[in-house]
Amino acid sequence: MARSAVGVIFSNIQDQNIPELSKHRTIASIPFAGRYRLIDFALSNMVNAGITTVGIVTKHNYQSLIDHLGSGKDWDLARKDGGIILLPPYSNETDKPYTNRLEALKGITGFLLHRKEEYVVLYDGDGVSRMDIADVVRFHEENNADITMVYHEETSVESHYYITVQPDETGRITSLKINPKINGNAKFNMYINVMVVRREYLMDIIQNAVQSGYSSFGREILAKNVDSMRIFGYKFDGYYANISSLARYFKHSMEQLDKDVRDELFGARDIYTKVRDSAPSRYIEGAVVKNSLVSDGCVIEGKVENSILFRGVKVGKGAVVKNSILMQETVVGNSAKLDCVVTDKNVSIRDRRNLAGCPELPYFVSKGTML
């Protein structure tokens, strides 16, 4: 149905929340759940809603993103008309690359102008969910909304920048706050950085903002016009994980060990990702694996518990890996011990090493390190 919508994914805009993992990559290309990247959820949700054109706004560090996306065929987005369209920052001698969302949008007006779809779905690459975008667009149409913001009930937040919304009984947002103080464990409605807006309306907003010299989409467009614009809130009730800090990354990753979470996200087998042709994983005689996710290409000789192993991870003899997330091609030496560790890609842990963190502060080992 949502052929009448074009997708736009902001791959970098939330990078500052999780510097450990976005040092070498965009937040959208952070590895998740053993074989995915965060952007896979955004792309799959769009594709499953019938969207066939997705513009991907990049700013820096996007080599790994480009490598991941390739031609887009793994998401069925290698298309003659549309498909994945990378939108690198626009800059010249006078215009520097964008520093905020409005400038980023201004940079893609050419892309928006030449599309034919009625609506735009704006999506940040920092969330994990399996969401029916087609239903969001339907909701938007039914309410004759100018803007529809998707929100999720949360009890805490770690983002540097966040928006809370309060819809009335008709769904129209009557109150919209930026970075309000969150008290205790009270529930609040957090905007989860998924928005539907009519394409021409969005272009008007951008043009108007440029003329007025605005710099904040949240403050100067949304918050300021909450009374004059028809901004509606779409409540998303499903599983949603906001990857907004390393501790959050750790927590939400561990949630993937829960069958209910996994069934919701992956049960329908329609989250797509890049295919790499690794061999199936090999469990050697004497290996002990409990409550863990193991991707392709792993070879396990030691003990693995409450952990997530990405593609091509090797766990040596006598090694004990607990409560840890080991990304692609991590090698754990014989008799090494890991507890609450997050290793980035291509990390090597020597034999008999002991590494430990805690869930609030996982021990992070950056890409390509040998320890």
């Binding site: 759940a33 053993g34 074989r35 995915y36 065929k73 993937q256 060990l257 069958k259 996994r262 996200l265 992956f266 087998r269 329609d270 989250i271 797509y272 295919v275 790499r276 042709d277 690794s278 061999a279 199936p280 994983s281 090999r282 469990y283 050697i284 005689e285 004497g286 290996a287 002990v288 694996v289 409990k290 409550n291 863990s292 996710l293 193991v294 991707s295 392709d296 290409g297 070879v299 000789e301 997530i308 192993l309 990405f310």
Partner: protein, 398 residues
């Protein structure tokens, strides 16, 4: 614009594979699952692309639908090419004739037009039912270096088993002076692998002659190769040293799967320098629960293991529920082994449901043979399937 390919591969994938029984009831043998995430044809197609051969004709005849869909446009093997790539070649109706492929040679003969389109110097003939990693480029180099008209890949087999194979008797320089099909008293341990490189012009010539011979069975091994040898063409054996398995029988298929297990597997499919490409499942990583136990096994994506798995190969999306046990078995994708069920020394095809507390097969030591369950069948709760049985229909007990 490219106008020629040095070497075109022709992959014979039309055989029924009747010795795989229920596993090939409605799919061609090359489409049978293997090694937790592959299909048999993946090995030959991967060998082609890894050897720099990007033009492959796949000759299908028996139950081709699934194989056609699997090969598709060839993209998983990087064989979706503007010029060349992989092409499915089914028997077709021609102006003067229309017939099924009658033998291996006839199948190739009917597709001479396909080969000629690429104007190749050499043609590589392959079988779609072997598990091995082989660099055909090296064989081609040998073919060119010896100036042969035909080169036959061969492998050394134990001499006591040689009488099961087509044996090549060769001179010191590797040239062949005699073929013996399943000889009672083999003179050599060099067995033909059914992989041939022909100089293209010679292939066309002998295929045409063979086609005109009404007494011919239209088979490479029985007719075309002996005819070439009798005519004095230069034929050489090329010695392949490495893992090679014809998985044409249930036992061979089971054994080849087991060769993937262990710290130093007999057959390594994870070599980054020789990747085996395949279509990949859309599934999350495999999950082993708190109650799950996996030992000495290979497990693909999407599996959910709550029971015990030992010395087995599990394809994608297999579920082994709590209290269930899988030992010495090959389980293909999507199969569910329900609570308390036990599967021993078996090959279970895709989409099978094994009911609670059912028993399939028995301990390898005492079993009468490998138990085989065909696709999408359902084994009732508490049912016992005796060892060595081959089932292709739902089973609720005697």
């Amino acid at each position: 614009m490219q106008i020629k390919k040095e070497c075109v591969a022709m992959l014979l994938a039309g055989g029924q594979g009747s010795r795989l029984y229920a596993l090939t009831n409605d799919i061609a043998k090359p489409a049978v699952g293997f090694g937790a995430k592959y299909r048999i044809i993946d090995f030959t197609l991967s060998n082609c692309i890894n050897s720099g051969i990007d033009t492959v004709g796949v000759l299908t005849q028996y139950e081709p639908l699934e194989l056609n869909e699997y090969v598709g446009n060839g993209q998983p093997w990087d064989l979706d090419r503007a010029f060349g790539g992989v092409h499915i070649l089914s028997p077709y109706q021609a102006k003067k004739r229309s017939s099924w492929y009658e033998g291996t040679a006839n199948a190739i003969y009917q597709n001479i037009g396909f080969m000629k389109k690429y104007n190749p110097d050499y043609v590589l003939i392959l079988s779609g039912d072997h598990i091995y990693k082989m660099n055909y480029a090296k064989m081609l180099q040998a073919h060119i270096a010896t100036g042969a008209d035909c080169t036959i890949a061969s492998i050394r087999v134990p001499i006591e088993e040689a009488s099961r194979f087509g044996i090549l008797n060769v001179n010191e320089d590797g040239s062949i002076y005699q073929f013996e099909e399943k000889p009672k008293a083999p003179k050599s341990d060099l067995a033909s692998m059914g992989i041939y490189i022909f100089t293209a012009s010679k292939l066309y010539k002998y295929l045409e002659e063979d086609d005109n011979d009404s007494n011919s069975a239209k088979d490479f091994g029985k007719n075309v190769l002996p005819a070439m040898l009798n005519a004095g063409e230069k034929m050489f054996a090329y010695l392949f040293e490495g893992y090679w398995k014809d998985v044409g029988t249930i036992t061979a298929l089971w054994e080849a799967n087991m060769d993937l297990l262990g710290a130093e597997p007999v057959f390594d499919v994870g070599d980054p320098a020789w990747k085996i490409h395949s279509r990949n499942p859309l599934a999350p990583p495999g999950y082993i629960s708190k109650t799950g136990e996996v030992n000495d096994s290979v497990i693909a994506l999407g599996c959910e293991i709550e029971g015990k798995v030992n010395h087995s190969v599990l394809s994608s999306n297999v579920t082994v529920e709590e209290g269930a046990t899988v030992i010495d078995s090959v389980i293909m994708s999507g199969t569910v082994v329900k609570k308390g069920a036990k599967v021993c020394y078996s090959i279970v095809d895709e989409g099978v449901v094994i009911g609670e507390n059912a028993i399939v097969g028995e301990d390898k030591q005492t079993a009468k043979g490998i138990t085989v369950l065909g696709r999408n069948i359902r084994i009732g709760d508490d049912v016992k399937v005796e060892s060595g049985k081959i089932l292709d229909k739902d089973y609720k007990g005697e």
